[in-house]
């Protein structure tokens, strides 16, 4: 990627994407409810939320496709519609980059490039970049989901934009493709671009994002750095159940370990491992009924955080009302 443009990424700089008080109602259903957050250049920002949380709707409003009921989105300080040739500022992937099935991959990109006066040579460049150069002259209708996704990513890159808005770009990619995209997006962010990527998979975000914006039912649930989120929620601990919990607790605390009593009478010990807790217990002479390592995955944390705002819940089989 040629990039001789200067990117500003200092403190106090205009945020790449500035969402403020954003509201979207369809009829009397409010699907985006007063969202305010900012997306900075130079990092990958994960945009997370369960199905129907309003991620795609928010992204459509960023691109001026849906009109906000209230609030606004600014891209590099300007409304999307005022960006001039917007592909040169913002690259977007929505709906696996919807394209006419009868058009070739190259022509699809060419139609977009022409409108923003992007040279045709750039079309070949981005096709090369996403590994689609060999199928450039094939019709999109024959593409797999993964290929269409790559074409959509190529489209997002066309104008060498400073801001990327990608709605579930990982969908349909094979493991090789996912890994490729992960490195690719990190590189783009490292070049000083802003990368906003939506997903409902926390595990994917944990590997990719530097920052997290979590929404549920259209409201902001968290706006934190990945590191903070992991430190806060990705807690690993040792669970121990003994016949004499009070004595064991005192022994553990003497070793400066943080101990919490769980509801079922077992103890949860932080900052240590099973071996050490086992040793302390046997040293103390208490009999251990259960000893295990427990790790809250980030996925669990995410599920807990969004539990109240999950809109579409699958009922277990047999419990259908």
């Amino acid at each position: 990627m040629k990039s001789d443009r200067e990117f500003t990424n200092g403190a106090g700089a205009t945020p790449a994407i500035d969402v403020s008080g954003l509201v979207k109602a369809y009829g009397n259903k409010t699907v985006v409810n007063g969202l305010t957050f900012q997306v900075q250049a130079g990092v990958v920002t994960g945009f997370l939320g369960p199905n129907g949380a309003g991620k795609s709707t928010t992204m459509r409003m960023m691109l001026g496709l849906d009109r906000p009921t209230d609030g606004r989105v600014l891209i590099s300080g300007r409304a999307y519609g005022e960006l001039g040739e917007p592909l040169r500022h913002v690259g977007a992937l929505l709906d696996a980059g919807a394209a006419h099935p009868g058009r070739t991959a190259r022509d699809h990109l060419l139609c977009m490039a022409r409108a923003n006066r992007i040279p045709a040579s750039r079309v070949d460049e981005v096709l090369e970049q996403v590994g689609m150069a060999t199928v450039a002259k094939r019709r999109v209708g024959g593409f797999s989901l993964g290929m269409r996704q790559r074409l959509g990513i190529a489209a997002a890159l066309l104008g060498d934009p400073r801001v990327l808005i990608l709605d579930e770009p990982v969908n349909g990619l094979d493991p090789e493709g996912i890994r490729w995209l992960r490195h690719f997006l990190k590189d783009l962010a490292a070049e000083g671009r802003a990368v906003l990527i939506s997903s409902h998979l926390m595990t994917e975000m944990a590997l990719l994002a530097d920052r997290l914006i979590v929404i549920g039912k259209g409201s902001l649930l968290a706006d934190v750095s990945m590191a903070e989120f992991a430190a806060e929620h990705g807690r690993s601990r040792v669970r121990v159940r003994s016949t004499e919990p009070v004595r064991l607790r005192a022994a553990l605390e003497r070793k400066k370990l943080r101990v919490e009593a769980a509801a079922d009478g077992s103890l949860e010990v932080y900052g240590t491992d099973v071996v050490e807790v086992g040793r302390i217990a046997s040293h103390e002479g208490t009999s251990v009924l259960e000893l295990s390592h427990v790790e809250d995955s980030l996925e669990d944390a995410f599920m807990r955080m969004t539990a109240d705002s999950v809109e579409y819940v699958a009922r277990p089989l047999g419990k259908v009302a």
């Binding site: 496709l65 849906d66 009109r67 709906d95 009868g102 022509d107 699809h108 022409r114 923003n116």
Partner: protein, 249 residues
């Protein structure tokens, strides 16, 4: 944003989808071919008929050609909605008036080019084949008829593009236009009480401008007929704009 760039993009969209790219050449070929076939085979026999109109007979293929023009127009706009690429298009050209204007202009310009070729080709081929029963270019009404024949394609195209922009779907648009133009219009013309209304339908009004042997029952002149089609086209284009301007994509 550059207007030329957006026009160029719209042209690229049309030429890069095979069904759309071939529609207008096909329409022109149908108009010329059917006209030549009909005038060549039954022209002499028809010439004895009481209200024989050599020019109208030459444009016999218009009924078939305009189906293809309608399909072209519906595809040009409807493809965007059916494939979801309207979002890509509006993200690329966020000024909706520019996007819509460029799309209609490109579609209309290509339809006009096809119309000029088709109308001139049809007139000269059919009048040549009619020989002594035909008319010459320059005879009364012929310049107007050939001009109207050329304008019929783009006006019909603009009307159908506008309607498709209002309905935002190929299926709905074809499902609306085909019955209206192929059933309602001929049927109305046969029902005594409603015949007067049928004169004001876009296809009838536009086609009246192709005649040289005028119908005394016509409530307006040929030029006014073409204007009526133009009003339909303008209304549909405006309707499409009102829908596109406000709706979420």
């Amino acid at each position: 944003m550059s207007v030329n760039a957006v026009l160029y993009s719209e042209w690229t969209k049309i030429r890069s989808v095979r069904s759309v790219a071939w529609a207008l050449p096909l329409a022109a070929a149908l108009l010329i071919g059917i006209g030549a076939g009909v005038t060549g085979s039954v022209g002499a026999a028809e010439s004895d008929a009481k209200n024989f109109d050599p020019v109208q007979l030459g444009y016999y293929g218009l009924f078939f050609a305009h189906v293809v023009v309608i399909a072209f127009a519906v595809l040009v706009v409807g493809n965007e909605y059916n494939t979801g690429s309207i979002r890509t298009s509006l993200a690329t050209v966020p000024r909706r008036g520019l996007f819509y204007g460029a799309k209609l202009t490109t579609g209309a310009a290509l339809a006009l080019a096809a119309g000029v070729v088709a109308s001139a080709g049809t007139f000269f081929a059919s009048q040549n084949l009619l020989g002594e029963h035909g008319v010459a270019f320059g005879d009364e009404g012929t310049v107007r008829a050939v001009t109207a024949g050329a304008l019929y394609f783009p006006l019909m195209a603009v009307m159908c593009m506008g309607i498709t922009a209002m309905l935002r779907s190929q299926m709905l648009s074809m499902g609306f236009l085909v019955p209206v133009l192929f059933l309602v219009s001929p049927v109305l013309a046969e029902i005594p009480g409603l015949r007067a209304v049928a004169w004001y339908l876009p296809d009838r009004a536009g086609q009246y401008a192709l005649r040289v042997n005028l119908d005394p029952a016509a409530p307006y002149s040929p030029v006014v007929g073409l204007l009526i089609l133009a009003i339909w086209a303008a209304a549909a284009a405006a309707g499409g704009w009102l829908v596109l301007r406000k709706r979420d994509a």
